[in-house]
Symmetry: C2
Subunit: 376 residues, 2 copies
């Protein structure tokens, strides 16, 4: 569907910040902002019967994607889905047992299992693209819609382990013992993810994010070879624009702060950071100067801050904004910019009213920082 | 017990490397080297009835501490014990349910619980010090004995959560909501840990290590304030020598690679690193030059490498040794040195014969590196 067929965008703060353009305030959205901490989400999920019941029905997916936007003045929406849809479409059989994490019926641990893998037919993921189009329509131009996928390595972790893991023993054993098989698996994942994200863009996604949730469990050296290389392979295949609009590409490696220099080589617009990173240091390393190239930065408050009282949340938001420092304000040039986010998904027990405190603190204080920056 | 009353040390490679003195090979020991992957350990544990049955009986503790040394030419022994002995001695009631992790009967989550805490009577930890003396005697000078403790922050995590945790919600909620209580708790922990380690030194420990296993879950800023500061408080109270022998102090923060610069300010001899760190980069940051000050580095192979075939283990060992680069060989000066270790505890399913491959690869290749370095 051509992007011009959707209603025009009213709040482009997020997209501008992704492209390192000056904005009036620091845009904010939250990883897993549509989720279990919201009572209205839990109600919809009950109607849907299960997590996959939610994700595979475009009306439910649209409903829950918009719920946080009705509560909070967030600057972006993100597709409600799961990172494991792609391996599911490869035929591994995804299920979510109540109260447990995701589980695959089949695991990929040997030559035969790898040989049986292929880039899945995108028709099996039609429900995702239908949800993207439905959400984009329902947003009616309020804020941009972010599409997403797991990274090739992160998908491989689940495909080899068969579920979440504490030690990544199976996937790392395969990687160290049979790197040839791991490379074959990762190449298939990368091409699948690229096609998946491009189809999300065709369906209406205005930015795309790659979640390398488990890149940070790799050893130095292995990360570059088995995670970063395949994220780069995805990025090299992604559409850079749709119907004239630039589509920013965001990459988030949880626990990847050690490798910021390496990630700076990625052909993407935004790097996401977890809370262990100092944003000022990251800005100095990869944020660039006004008028020069660089990456926008996204992050990085600890989601556990949201369990503290609102006045503490406000202080901690200010610390994060100040650690990045004043964003540039030159309307004619690109320069260092910050997209506020958590350093990881929001916790399901978060009090919803605490999220209001966070969002309004980001907006208020980041406006103040710009006024001060201009006055200086 | 005066250290001179024990038999003289035959292999001081580990201690020399900790003090940045030149050695003929890179010393190696493994975190959790006495453990469940060894069939002889499982036998002794069965005799003892439980984990704490092992740890609280000096004969059993001595037996299992020496088991890996009988199998492998390791360059150090480490006291067999648990990091949670100190909060247990504070009266929190430690237990290990079969197949589960540690659990405390009482949790520390409010003002009253923090007010009830105090530095424990070291007599309650007599079993640890008795084990230290017994092990040191049984070692008969083969290799040095390392004593250890959890860091103040890591102990606090268990004391507040009551058990292991995925999200550290309770401890971080307390930290963000009531930093005053958290600081009080951490000060008590720091003074307890210092006394505990000093008493281990009195009992015969020849080096001491602080495990900050959970420092890496903290946000930048919070780490410095709530973990590093209290590790420094422990270090400031530690004995630097016993009976004329220098006692090296090692600090290991899992996931703390972002903060190497901060950790460089610690008054300790060795910094431990997990596998996400590049040893060459770490050496450049904190390892120092020949004749100048600096920290020795310990680490950092991924324990999952031990699931690969022996020839892969050998290759990966060489990669880690080469990433550090040639250690200095000047017999008259201190300079950059490396103590080989895993980046985390050994996995319980590790094939014991794979450990032989690792240890011999470290010894062989590190000797070769020194010959080449001298030849150049």
């Amino acid at each position: 569907m051509p992007h011009s067929a959707f209603p025009p965008l009213q709040n482009d703060t997020f997209l501008r910040a992704c492209l390192r353009q000056a904005t009036d305030h620091t845009p904010v959205w939250l990883m897993r902002q549509a989720g279990r901490y919201l009572p209205e989400y839990r109600q919809t999920r009950e109607k849907a019967g299960s997590f996959m019941g939610l994700a595979t029905n475009k009306d439910f997916a649209t409903e829950v994607t918009l719920q946080p936007l009705d509560r909070y003045p967030l600057d972006a929406a993100i597709l409600f889905s799961d990172i494991l849809t792609v391996p599911d479409a490869m035929g591994l059989g995804l299920s979510f047992a109540m109260g447990e994490g995701p589980k695959f019926e089949k695991v990929v641990r040997d030559e035969a299992a790898v040989a049986a893998l292929a880039v899945p037919d995108m028709n099996k993921l039609r429900y995702v693209f239908d949800a993207v189009t439905s959400i984009r329509r329902a947003l009616n131009g309020r804020v941009p819609l972010i599409g997403f996928s797991g990274s090739p390595w992160t998908l491989a972790c689940y495909m080899v382990e068969g579920a979440g893991s504490d030690d990544y023993r199976w996937v790392k054993s395969l990687m160290y013992s049979r790197p040839d098989l791991m490379h074959r698996l990762l190449a298939i994942n990368a091409d699948s993810v690229a096609l998946y994200l491009n189809t999300q863009i065709d369906a209406g996604a205005q930015a795309v994010m790659i979640f390398d949730s488990w890149g940070g469990v790799l050893a130095d050296g292995a990360f570059q070879q088995f995670s970063l290389q395949y994220t780069a392979r995805v990025l090299s295949q992604l559409k850079k624009s749709a119907d004239g609009a630039t589509i920013p590409r965001l990459v988030f490696t949880k626990g990847g702060g050690m490798w910021l220099d390496d990630m700076n080589t990625l052909d993407c617009e935004v790097l996401g950071l977890d809370w262990t990173q100092n944003l000022g240091r990251a800005r100095a390393l990869v944020g660039g100067e006004v008028g020069g190239p660089g990456k926008a930065l996204q992050g990085n408050i600890d989601p556990n801050v949201l369990f503290a009282p609102p006045q503490v949340i406000e202080q901690e938001v200010i610390k994060v904004l100040e650690s990045f420092g004043p964003p540039h304000t030159d309307p004619l040039k690109t320069g260092p910019t910050h997209v506020f986010n958590l350093g990881h998904g929001i916790h399901q027990l978060t009090p919803p009213e605490h999220v209001s405190a966070l969002v309004s603190a980001v907006h208020q204080h980041s406006r103040k920082m710009r006024t001060t920056a201009r006055a200086v």
